[in-house]
């Protein structure tokens, strides 16, 4: 704010300075002219005085000459005339001298006039004497006789006058001479002084003139400079207004947009000439009535000084609005604009403009929408229907039961008291295990929509697990997802019921349904019927398990880019009561083998292994005490050192512990909840919960697990499940 005030003051400075200089200069010149006139008079006076200085002596000499001439009877006419001329000249000179002294302003000095007065007083008797002398007849001064010439009476009279004059005036002439020369000296001094001061005056005048000229030059240069700067600034403003993407504008008290606005305002509001238009009227066709009403009220508030700016800004209803532009053929284009407003005050008291900024935030809004919709992505009906059709009804019901139980167990964990960090971590891990296991079940059945949901919950939980601080409210998203999972289960159940009703009316089978659940093919009525027909075959739980594991193998190997063949043996012998447990174990182990065990095709080729990896699952019931389940892969085997290193990076062990780690200790680590050997997290592996789930399932059945492995060759897990426990479980579940 200080800058413009300063420049406003600066604009007056050159004018004032020039005015001052000119006044001073004319004053100076006027004084100079006066001084010059006075100097002229003074020097005239000096000349006169100088002339007068010699006169008394001159007159004395003439008088003496006349005296001698009379004595020797020589001609004295010339001298008499000279004397008369001198007297006249002196009288004129005295008169002029008085005038000159007055004109030179020297009369102010009393001594000058006194001196003149004194000189004139000394001159007066001399003047009188000379006057008398002049009155004498000049002819016939001598009469010639034999004895010589003698003075005539007139000559004698003249001689008497001259003698008298010389006798009386000798003293006076000396005094007069001195007096006049003193006056002359005084006048000379005055002339010299006046001359000097006049010179000084002229010098000062020249200096002033030079200063004036210089300042004129400087200010004209500055004015040029300022004009150039203003020109540059103006061009820059025009440049900014032309290129800025935001619409910048001013609204006056009359609600109209000001003349200066950025070019982009036209494009943003789709108006040819926004200047001079009423802002509210411009908005009217673009927004709904509610927004318009709010905008009108808000703009009104901007002029109300009763309400402070901070509050005003916080309630801006136009910070993000949806606008629709009419296009040709009645089509509309929807954009999102963001407006912000500020009061512009010229004086401290009231706002005289409102400065507005508008920008197009459509992309940002749409991106946000997209993100939001990704979160709440609803599955296409056909995908859901495919899932229902692909899975045997009984299996689906079993799965939905598993789902319900898993959600309930998770909810019970959350419901249990305890909000200390350890409690929360424990809840977190418990829910995680439930979801991981559920995800495996869903994947084995090809229920992609459930896999995705369970995976999302895992994502949330693993995000929470990394947090340094954990509070109860961090679990809000988890509980909402559990709710959604349950709702999704209900949807699926309702859908299955509808399909069940459809099944009774199904007539014939034409086509096979698409194989994979991800397919978005729209099912025609014929396909539905075909799928239903196939679903009626009713395989045993053991056979279903076999199919499920084959499907899982295909899923996981495709997702993790491995080529894997699953060979299973004896799964049909698994007693029905043990199927869920064996299924749970097999799912996690199979997934583990594919993701962590089997190498990519190229690596296998390098080590001379067959390109397609294989996983064998063998169930035997030959032993009296235990069932045995073997899961074996021909992958890279387990490397205790690698396990130790990873445990260190996971913070499970320190370096010394890792160095002292033995083989069985290393393998035990595999079952730790926080351990994982895959580098990336996918739906199928990478969180290290797989073996944790297996361990929990085996523990619940009172069983054991053993590992044998050779680096680069194979890994074999052997699980022993006691028959007694299995039978007890089956009885308790039957009861």
């Amino acid at each position: 704010m200080a800058q413009p005030v300063l420049s406003r003051q600066l604009r007056w400075l050159p004018v004032a300075l020039a005015l001052l200089c000119t006044t001073a200069l004319s004053l100076l010149l006027f004084t100079g002219v006066q001084r010059a006139a006075r100097l002229q008079s003074a020097s005239t006076a000096l000349q006169l005085a100088a002339g007068l200085t010699a006169q008394p002596q001159l007159m004395r000499s003439e008088l003496t000459l006349i005296q001698r001439g009379l004595e020797t009877q020589t001609y004295v006419g010339d001298s008499l005339r000279t004397l008369a001329g001198s007297r006249e000249a002196s009288n004129v000179a005295y008169a002029q001298l008085a005038d000159a002294i007055k004109a030179a302003g020297l009369d102010a000095r009393s001594d000058t006039l006194a001196m003149l007065d004194k000189a004139q007083k000394l001159w007066a008797p001399l003047d009188k004497g000379l006057e008398r002398l002049g009155n004498n007849k000049t002819g016939d001064l001598y009469s010639d006789s034999a004895a010589g010439s003698t003075l005539t009476a007139a000559g004698a009279r003249l001689k008497r006058s001259v003698d008298e004059l010389l006798a009386t005036q000798t003293k006076n002439t000396g005094a007069l001479s001195r007096q006049v020369s003193e006056l002359a000296a005084l006048l000379r001094e005055a002339v010299v002084n006046d001359g000097r001061s006049l010179r000084a005056l002229l010098l000062g005048g020249s200096a002033l003139a030079a200063l004036l000229l210089a300042s004129m030059l400087y200010f004209s240069w500055r004015a040029g400079q300022a004009a150039r700067a203003a020109g540059i600034a103006q061009r820059q403003v025009a440049h900014i207004m032309g290129t800025v993407r935001e619409g910048l504008f001013l609204i006056g008290r009359d609600g109209r947009i000001g003349g200066a606005h950025s070019d982009s305002l036209r494009g943003l509001l789709r108006v040819g000439t926004p200047a001079g238009q009423d802002f509210e009227q411009l908005l009217r066709p673009l927004v709904d009535e509610k927004t318009l009403l709010a905008a009108g009220k808000y703009l009104g508030l901007l002029w109300k000084d009763k309400v402070n700016e901070e509050l005003i800004e916080s309630v801006n209803p136009l910070s993000q609005i949806e606008v629709s532009f009419q296009k040709a053929q009645g089509a509309t284009e929807v954009r999102y604009l963001s407006f912000s407003f500020r009061r512009v005050r010229a004086t401290a008291s009231t706002a005289d403009h409102v400065f507005g900024v508008v920008s197009d935030v459509t992309e940002r809004v749409l991106l946000q929408r997209e993100l939001d919709s990704l979160k709440s992505d609803t599955d296409s009906q056909s995908a859901l229907l495919l899932q229902v059709l692909q899975v045997e009804p009984l299996q689906m019901q079993t799965f939905l039961g598993t789902l319900d139980a898993a959600v309930r167990r998770s909810n019970a964990l959350l419901r249990a008291p305890g909000k200390q960090r350890a409690d929360l971590q424990q809840k977190l891990q418990g829910v995680f295990r439930e979801m991981h296991s559920l995800k495996g079940e869903a994947a084995a059945l090809g229920l992609g929509t459930f896999v995705r949901r369970a995976h999302e919950v895992e994502d949330l939980l693993s995000g929470l697990r990394k947090r340094a601080e954990l509070a109860g409210n961090d679990f809000v998203p988890v509980v909402v997802r559990l709710d959604e999972l349950m709702t999704h289960g209900q949807e699926m159940s309702a859908l299955q019921e509808r399909v069940g009703q459809a099944r009774s009316t199904a007539v014939s089978a034409n086509d096979l349904p698409p194989e994979r659940h991800g397919d978005t093919a729209v099912l025609a009525g014929g396909q539905v019927a075909a799928a239903l027909a196939r679903a009626d075959l009713g395989p045993t739980p053991g056979e279903q398990l076999k199919v499920a594991l084959q499907r899982l193998c295909a899923e996981v190997s495709a997702a993790s880019k491995r080529d894997v063949r699953l060979l299973s043996e004896g799964l049909e012998k698994v007693p029905a009561s043990l199927v869920p447990r064996v299924r749970e174990i097999c799912i996690q182990m199979l997934r583990n083998s594919i993701v962590h065990g089997i190498e990519p095709r190229e690596r296998r080729a390098l080590t001379g292994k067959p390109p397609v990896g294989s996983v064998r699952i063998r169930f035997t019931d030959s032993d009296q005490e235990n069932y045995s389940l073997i899961v074996e892969d021909d992958g890279q085997g387990l490397n205790p050192e690698e396990i130790g290193m990873r445990a260190v990076t996971r913070g499970l062990l320190d370096a010394t512990q890792a160095a002292n780690l033995d083989r069985s200790g290393a393998f035990r680590l595999l079952f730790h909840p926080d351990f994982s050997t895959a580098d990336t997290v996918s739906e199928h592996a990478g969180r290290g919960v797989g073996l944790d789930v297996v361990n929990a399932a085996i523990r619940d059945s009172g069983g054991r697990i053993g590992i044998s492995t050779t680096a680069g060759k194979y890994t074999r897990f052997k699980v022993l499940l006691p028959r007694a426990q299995a039978e007890a479980d089956s009885q308790s579940s039957a009861a």
Binding site: A471, G472, V479
Partner: protein, 150 residues
């Protein structure tokens, strides 16, 4: 706005209420669903019915002792039944009102109704699983019950 952010708005609202009004933080327990059983309610329950983008109800239920201590911290000397009802209603009202910041003007909230007594019946919208969020303050246990659908 997803349901989880909406629930979070209410949870944050409760915690903020304690921070500002009684200037002593409350802790939030792990939220859970009320599955088969209806969530228990406490001595006093403030209920707000909401309509608009979401329909349902929001309730805050707290024991008498907790509300009394809260009043004490607000320098209130009258810990009578009226004031306890008043406070629990005000809390429910504040939570719902604050939610309009995030849910918009469309989100309509009712004047709070207050239930007193643990055996009062809280009406739940059908087909919705209420989310129960335990709120612990000092040694007292209150609950926020959020039940929003559609």
């Amino acid at each position: 706005m997803s349901l989880e952010s909406q629930v979070a708005v209410f949870v944050d609202g409760v915690l903020n209420y304690f921070d500002t009004t009684v200037q002593q933080s409350a802790q939030c327990g792990t939220p859970h669903l009320a599955l088969s059983d209806k969530p228990e309610i406490s001595d006093y329950t403030g209920v707000i019915q909401v309509t608009g983008k979401r329909t349902g109800m929001v309730a805050f239920t707290a024991p008498k002792s907790m509300l009394s201590v809260m009043l004490m911290r607000m320098q209130e000397t009258d810990m009578g039944h009226e004031n306890l009802c008043d406070l629990v209603g005000e809390i429910a009202n504040t939570l719902s009102g604050n939610a309009r910041r995030d849910f918009g003007h469309q989100f309509q909230i009712s004047v709070p109704s207050v239930l007193s007594g643990r055996d009062s019946q809280l009406e739940y919208p059908p087909d919705l699983r209420p989310i129960v969020i335990p709120i612990d303050w000092r040694n007292y246990h209150a609950r926020l019950i959020v039940c929003l659908g559609g």
